[in-house]
């Protein structure tokens, strides 16, 4: 499923006199199969944008289609399709563990499955819950009967994630999934997202603050500033125009900073991952000597 967004605008106070736009005239396409970053400073519209993707925020102005679903379609049949869309576009909010509520881990993960498959048998649900927990690296037998409040922070976040992927969404959207995780928790979450990216979940869309992570993990990214999508492309394209990024209040990845500072005597043609940066730098050193 491809996400196509044309001239999308949104205001939280549409009827006020001097209304402010949280999104303004956003046009962009996210292809099926992308591992797509959404970046921009705080308040630039990232969360507002992603909440449009499963209809949580209704389209006010402009056009938005996700696969065959037209989110601008306000007719009765359009609304009926919204539920179908919500199953296909899984949304993991910021600090999702703050929203766990059930008495057991099993019930928390099962919530979405029960909601989307009303007539499902107990076996069907158990099987979905079990495979989701396995995918995110949680021990089913050990944890299923525990209270979600008695487990560690990193595990809680995985429980929340398992609940979303249990219905096997084709597009997985995550709002700052690494916030608050310790370094190892962060590394293993990125690994997990890449693993999921190879399964039913064809497209991953992830909001991140950390340009080092975006350079390292994403194929493509869009940059938001003041509600506008001001740049979109691969890390190679985005981080080559660093001055522009910094004007938008964004910090560059360290590899980008160094590439810039080595100019003009040394020019590196890198994709800004640490490995590639090191390769290209060592090449240049050999050329020189």
């Amino acid at each position: 499923m491809e996400v196509v967004c044309q001239n999308l605008s949104y205001s939280y106070s549409p009827s006020s006199k001097n209304k402010k736009y949280a999104l303004s005239d956003v046009t962009l396409t996210i292809k099926e199969g992308d591992f797509f970053g959404v970046i921009g400073h705080t308040g630039s519209g990232k969360s507002t944008f992603i909440q449009h993707l499963n209809g949580l925020i209704p389209v006010q102005n402009g056009k938005l289609t996700v696969g065959e679903y037209d989110l601008t379609d306000k007719s009765r049949s359009g609304k009926a399709k919204l539920k179908e869309l919500r199953r296909k576009v899984g949304m993991v909010f910021q600090y999702p563990e703050y929203q766990l509520f059930a008495e057991t881990v099993f019930e928390d993960v099962a919530f979405g499955v029960r909601n989307f498959y009303k007539q499902a048998s107990a076996e069907f649900i158990a099987q979905k819950v079990k495979s989701a927990m396995q995918l995110v690296g949680l021990d089913f037998d050990e944890l299923k009967d525990k209270s979600p409040f008695s487990i560690s922070g990193g595990q809680k976040r995985r429980v929340a994630l398992a609940g979303v992927i249990a219905v096997e969404p084709e597009i997985l959207v995550l709002d700052e999934p690494c916030a608050g995780l310790d370094p190892q928790g962060k590394t293993s979450l990125w690994q997990l997202l890449h693993k999921l990216h190879g399964t039913f979940c064809k497209t991953v869309i992830v909001v991140s603050h950390d340009m080092n992570d975006v350079a390292e993990q994403c194929d493509k990214a869009v940059v938001f500033s003041d509600g506008k999508a001001v740049a979109c492309g691969s890390p190679r394209e985005l981080f080559s125009g660093l001055e522009d990024l910094e004007k938008l209040g964004l910090e560059s990845p360290v590899t980008g900073y160094l590439t810039e500072k080595l100019k003009p005597s040394v020019t590196l043609d890198t994709d800004f991952t640490i490995d590639d940066f090191c390769d290209k730098l060592v090449e240049k050193l050999k050329e020189k000597s």
């Binding site: 608050g180 360290v254 090191c278």
Partner: protein, 277 residues
């Protein structure tokens, strides 16, 4: 002068659980900038709550500018001296309007009305929350709430400031802004600062690092000492700051630039490398 002394302190939340903090001893001098790092659940927040007197050690003792946290009569003084900002700002907010929330702390410790006004102005300015002054705190974004929570504690003018993962929802530039304000207060007011953080780039600039694992204090050292100790990093689940990761990558390719912890240091070393050849 000694700001904090933690002496063989242990704590557990309930009888059947294991120790959350296990035999920790450490000292912090007035005006020092220290970092506490370690995995989730390694005991960092529990230690911070004990320093602030919110919970009492099970064994051992803690003094804050000479006041023992076990001494009921000193508790008010200790909480006035030592301000904590928690990770989840929703646990910190008390009033619905931003400026009332910031005023709450100073009102509570008996600051005069005129002085409170000044402190609110200062704290809102310092944290960049002036534009939301009269707004509902509940309508703000996570990052904005965190700034308000920090403003609330700055308005107390604490001699010791503890930031417990309190910038986790800010973007890197927002984090840098807040840290610059804190650094400035440390210089001008000799404020003692303790940051609990998962961001290795915040650790790099501090005087002393405390590394925790499983409730125990594994090591105390300078950032250089900590990041040069591979075994320790593994044991405590830490990682190198990005510039040091790049230096490691270069080393694996036969280019040795040492272990620079900041991007500026790494840049200097790369310049030298190319100047030489």
């Amino acid at each position: 002068m000694q700001a904090v002394k933690v002496d063989k302190v242990s704590y557990k939340y309930s009888e059947k659980e294991k120790l959350a903090v296990d035999g920790v001893s450490l000292e912090i001098e007035a005006g020092e900038f220290v970092a506490v790092v370690g995995r989730n659940a390694s005991g960092k927040s529990t230690l911070a709550r004990m320093i602030n007197g919110l919970i009492a050690p099970l064994s051992g003792e803690i003094t804050v500018f000479g006041n023992n946290t076990l001494d009921e009569k000193s508790l008010f003084e200790i909480r006035k001296t030592c301000g904590i900002v928690f990770q989840n700002p929703d646990n910190q907010m008390v009033a619905s309007i931003v400026e009332d929330d910031v005023a709450f702390g100073p009102e509570n410790i008996g600051v005069s009305r005129e002085e409170i006004g000044k402190r609110i102005d200062f704290a809102l300015q310092a944290t960049g929350t002036e534009p939301f002054r009269t707004e509902m705190a509940s309508k703000l974004s996570g990052g904005q709430k965190q700034r308000v929570a920090i403003a609330g504690v700055l308005a107390l003018k604490p001699k010791i400031l503890i930031l417990d993962e309190s910038t986790s929802m800010l973007d890197p530039i927002g984090r840098a802004e807040v840290m610059a304000v804190v650094e400035n207060l440390r210089k001008t007011e000799n404020m003692t600062v303790m940051v609990i953080t998962h961001y290795m780039d915040e650790v790099v600039g501090c005087d002393k690092v405390f590394v925790m694992a499983d409730g125990k204090l594994l090591k105390t050292g300078t950032p250089e000492q900590i990041f040069n100790d591979k075994e320790l990093l593994d044991e405590a689940g830490l990682e190198l700051p990005v510039p040091a990761k790049i230096a490691e990558g270069l080393k694996r390719r036969g280019v040795d630039v040492g272990l620079p912890l900041t991007k500026e240091q790494l840049k200097e070393r790369l310049w030298k490398l190319f100047a030489k050849t």
